[in-house]
């Protein structure tokens, strides 16, 4: 059967790893925010912003890695905006987050139109090339799937253990986890709750923006309207799927990317007799099922969504 043949093609596995990359950035970013007790629904907009900023930097002749840093800075800035409202002023994290998404998305599209008023086809840029890691890329099968990828993909995979180490093995990570559980306990140790949460949201938002940047400066080589296409929302679901753990977040991102890579190929393989919309739907249905199974015992951070105000008990 043709569908089974998909699994033995290296193209499928390579695509899976590539498609997982923005999800890994986004999910890790959201995970850091939520571990500190702040839901960041601005993710969809921050990814769009990151995509635009990085693309434009390169389009203007900037360096690719600098573009990644600029996108991260832009993401952190919008994270700061989210914190001002949801952390310092203690407003609803849902409302603020949606506001950030609407603002960042619209601002990106507006800026794009203003910058390139007369262009009909989005201009291409000189993007990241797959970088075969010397030696490792020579390995049979694995070399082509894992070690002939964009440098940003390597970065995403490398960040997973880095974030896990940071959260579970450093005093700062402990304080960050605690601030999402019981901010009073952190305050009682003389650590500033608001600053800690803001720092976490800014760092997480920077991750999200890099996830968006990956799409423009590593995959599509151009900026399109609507190109994030719900990836941010998927990341929010993946954080729950992952029970707020970096390792599981990687697994979740890979799983979803597998569904996504599979549906494109199944669409082509089964051509006429099943409507293509069915396949478009498939990753989402499968992730809902996976979430139902995985998140039943999820231990969500106890102070998630709860603003902290000094002096209140």
């Amino acid at each position: 059967m043709e569908i089974l043949e998909i699994f033995v093609t290296l193209g499928f596995w390579g695509a899976l790893v590539r498609m997982a990359t923005p999800l890994i950035f986004g999910t890790l970013g959201e995970l850091i925010c939520e571990r500190a007790g702040v839901l960041n629904l601005g993710i969809e907009g921050i990814m769009t912003l990151g995509a635009l900023v990085a693309w434009f930097w390169v389009y203007q002749g900037g360096d690719l890695w600098t573009a990644v840093l600029v996108a991260a800075a832009a993401g952190a800035l919008f994270g700061l905006l989210h914190s001002v409202f949801s952390v310092y002023l203690g407003l609803s994290q849902h409302v603020t987050g949606i506001g950030i998404t609407l603002l960042a998305t619209s601002l990106s599209y507006f800026a794009y139109r203003m910058l390139l008023p007369d262009v009909t086809t989005p201009p291409k840029i000189e993007a990241f090339k797959p970088y075969p890691i010397p030696g490792l890329s020579e390995l049979p099968y694995l070399g082509q799937v894992l070690f002939t990828q964009s440098p940003l993909t390597y970065l995403a995979f490398a960040l997973v253990p880095v974030v896990a180490y940071g959260l579970y093995r450093t005093p700062l990570g402990l304080a960050l986890r605690m601030v999402g559980e019981n901010p009073m306990a952190v305050e009682a140790q003389g650590i500033d709750v608001h600053r800690l949460r803001t720092a976490a949201v800014m760092l997480g938002s920077a991750f999200m923006a890099v996830g968006g940047a990956f799409l423009t400066i590593s995959v599509f080589d151009a900026f399109y309207i609507g190109m994030i296409n719900g990836r941010g929302w998927i990341c929010i679901a993946l954080v729950i799927f992952a029970s707020w753990r970096p390792g599981k977040a990687l697994a979740g991102a890979l799983l979803f990317a597998a569904f996504e890579a599979l549906q494109i190929r199944v669409q082509q393989a089964s051509s006429a007799f099943i409507p293509y919309q069915f396949f478009l739907m498939m990753p989402y249905v499968l992730s809902i099922l996976a979430m139902i199974v995985m998140s039943r015992r999820a231990a969500y951070p106890k102070a998630l969504l709860v603003p902290f105000r000094k002096g209140e008990r």
């Binding site: 093995r169 005093p171 402990l174 986890r177 559980e181 003389g190």
Partner: protein, 526 residues
């Protein structure tokens, strides 16, 4: 912490480790602490006694740096403590265990303890070293708890041990415990007291905040009594009596509730061979037999979690039995409906007044008609009758002596005792035939508890049968007519209170006593 450690030699019995000099704290017009001066000596347990709102917690919060005093100063180990700095208090060797724990539930015990003890930017934690230290402290002071378990899997008693370990880990030489027994079962209180005794034997000093006289008499060396922000008494426990302390706390002699014994009336409620299962099919109540007569108070003793919740749910109409019979005033109960149960004459005083007893954000008058809002007295054609409701509320506030309340006061603003009076007013004004009183005096001070007991006596005299669920054996022995023990869903045979002994009940509560087979009407005083 190093110099502080040396500053507390174990030999100096009468040396002062902590001194409060004329501490005054005002919140607007309210003076929470009025020129309080106190001395804590090395190796003693000082009880800070006072009713709710007397200023105990405020005083300790100033000591620990959560608040800044308006006047006065604090010295720890002979050195002035800078005001408003919890870190300075910790560094000076003061540890505080708050009434509401500050723990992260999804983190391990070890994580909770070491938080904030290492520099924030250190590249890695010294986990092995920290664990060894925690295990050593835990063994030394008898605070058994596994450092790797998650706090959410711990019992309340274990969580408290984690809080104490947190303070000890930071090198505390003075430990402040704010109402530490409020959340503990009797067995856990014993364990805690044993730990505290070990600690003072090691030269630590403890301030024990409480409003429970029995506990203060049992554990403290000296007692300081606060009333309305003022220090009104300071004396060794050896020279104090319960009566004198109660009087100092309340400021007037406390009249114990009076009861005129009346012969029991007819059977108002009957449970026979009753079974109730939990969601997972585990038995919550098994083969339960119970006869409740009018004009009697039947006390249900037991450590919480042994079926009290299930029994309360059953009588409240939240659950139907899975087997056996449940008769109310001679007719069987056939449907699950709290409203129907209430209409049939069941009054409920729920366990957690804040969570389910009242709606905190509604006014007192609204809470007073909460269970009768559809009643024609208060409602015509689907519209509430504001004037009637207001008059109803005024009458009940007057009759039940609900202080600090007028009909439009937000209920959340009331003290625990007055909130409980709102619930009692709502329930008792409907003249129920069966009253379920689940921990009605928990967390109340002496005066308020006496008032609640008095009200229950009055309802009883009017013919109601009362099921009194309590963890407080002394209270049960004091006000019940008969007492039964609930252990793992089994109810012991009720015995008349005159025949009940503390030891026997204690054994039954820990499952060591004999649960005799049920005999019809056995053990009734009549």
């Amino acid at each position: 912490m190093s110099d502080v450690d040396e500053a507390a030699p174990e030999s100096a019995g009468a040396q002062s480790v902590l001194r409060l000099n004329g501490v005054t704290k005002r919140f607007g017009a309210l003076t929470a602490n009025d020129a309080v001066s106190l001395d804590l000596r090395s190796g003693e347990i000082l009880a800070l006694l006072g009713e709710n709102g007397a200023g105990k917690t405020t005083l300790m919060s100033i000591l620990f740096g959560h608040y800044v005093a308006d006047e006065g100063s604090i010295e720890a180990f002979g050195r002035l403590l800078p005001p408003g700095k919890p870190k300075a208090a910790i560094a000076a060797g003061i540890g505080m265990v708050h009434q509401h724990f500050t723990l992260g539930e999804n983190l391990s015990v070890l994580d909770n303890i070491v938080l904030g003890t290492e520099p924030l930017w250190a590249p890695r934690q010294q986990r092995a070293k920290a664990r060894a230290r925690v295990v050593e402290l835990a063994e030394h002071f008898g605070l058994a708890v596994d450092p790797h378990r998650l706090v959410r899997d711990l019992s309340v008693g274990e969580r408290q041990r984690v809080e104490i370990l947190k303070a000890l880990y930071r090198g505390a030489r003075v430990l402040i415990l704010d109402e530490p027994t409020a959340v503990l079962a009797p067995k856990e209180i014993e364990t805690l007291f044993a730990t505290l005794k070990t600690m003072v034997a090691e030269g630590l000093s403890i301030i024990f905040i409480s409003h429970k006289l029995n506990e203060v008499m049992a554990i403290a060396d000296r007692v300081a009594v606060l009333r309305q922000g003022k220090l009104v008494a300071e004396l060794p426990v050896a020279g104090a009596s319960k009566q004198s302390l109660a009087q100092a706390m309340v400021g007037r002699p406390v009249a114990p509730p009076v009861r005129h014994p009346l012969p029991p009336g007819e059977v108002v409620m009957q449970l026979a061979g009753l079974m109730l299962h939990g969601e997972a099919g585990q038995p919550l109540l098994e083969d339960l037999h119970l006869l409740l007569y009018g004009r009697e108070i039947l006390g249900i003793a037991g450590v919480s979690g042994n079926g009290q919740g299930a029994l309360a749910a059953l009588i409240s109409g939240l659950r139907l039995p899975d087997g056996g019979s449940f008769d109310l005033l001679g007719a069987p109960v056939k449907q699950t409906s709290p409203l129907a149960m209430q209409r049939r004459g069941v009054g409920r005083i729920p366990e957690d007044r804040h969570a389910i007893g009242v709606v905190g954000d509604l006014s007192v008058e609204e809470n007073l008609i909460l269970e009768a809002s559809g009643d024609p007295r208060f409602c015509t054609l689907g519209l509430l009758r504001g004037g009637v409701i207001r008059r109803h509320a005024r009458a009940l506030i007057e009759r039940f002596d609900i202080r600090g309340a007028d009909p439009t006061t937000t209920t959340r603003a009331l003290s625990g005792g007055n909130m409980q009076k709102v619930i009692l007013a709502r329930v008792l004004s409907e003249k129920p035939r069966v009253i379920l009183a689940n921990q009605p005096t928990r967390g109340l001070d002496v005066g308020a508890a006496a008032k609640v007991q008095q009200l229950l006596f009055e309802a009883c005299a009017e013919g109601a049968g009362i099921i009194l669920i309590s963890e407080d054996l002394e209270e049960l022995l004091q006000i019940s007519d008969r007492i039964a023990v609930l252990y793992r869903g089994h109810l012991s045979n009720p015995v008349p209170v005159e025949e009940a002994s503390l030891t026997e009940l204690g054994l039954l509560m820990s499952g060591h006593g004999e649960f005799e087979a049920y005999r019809e009407g056995a053990g009734h005083a009549a």
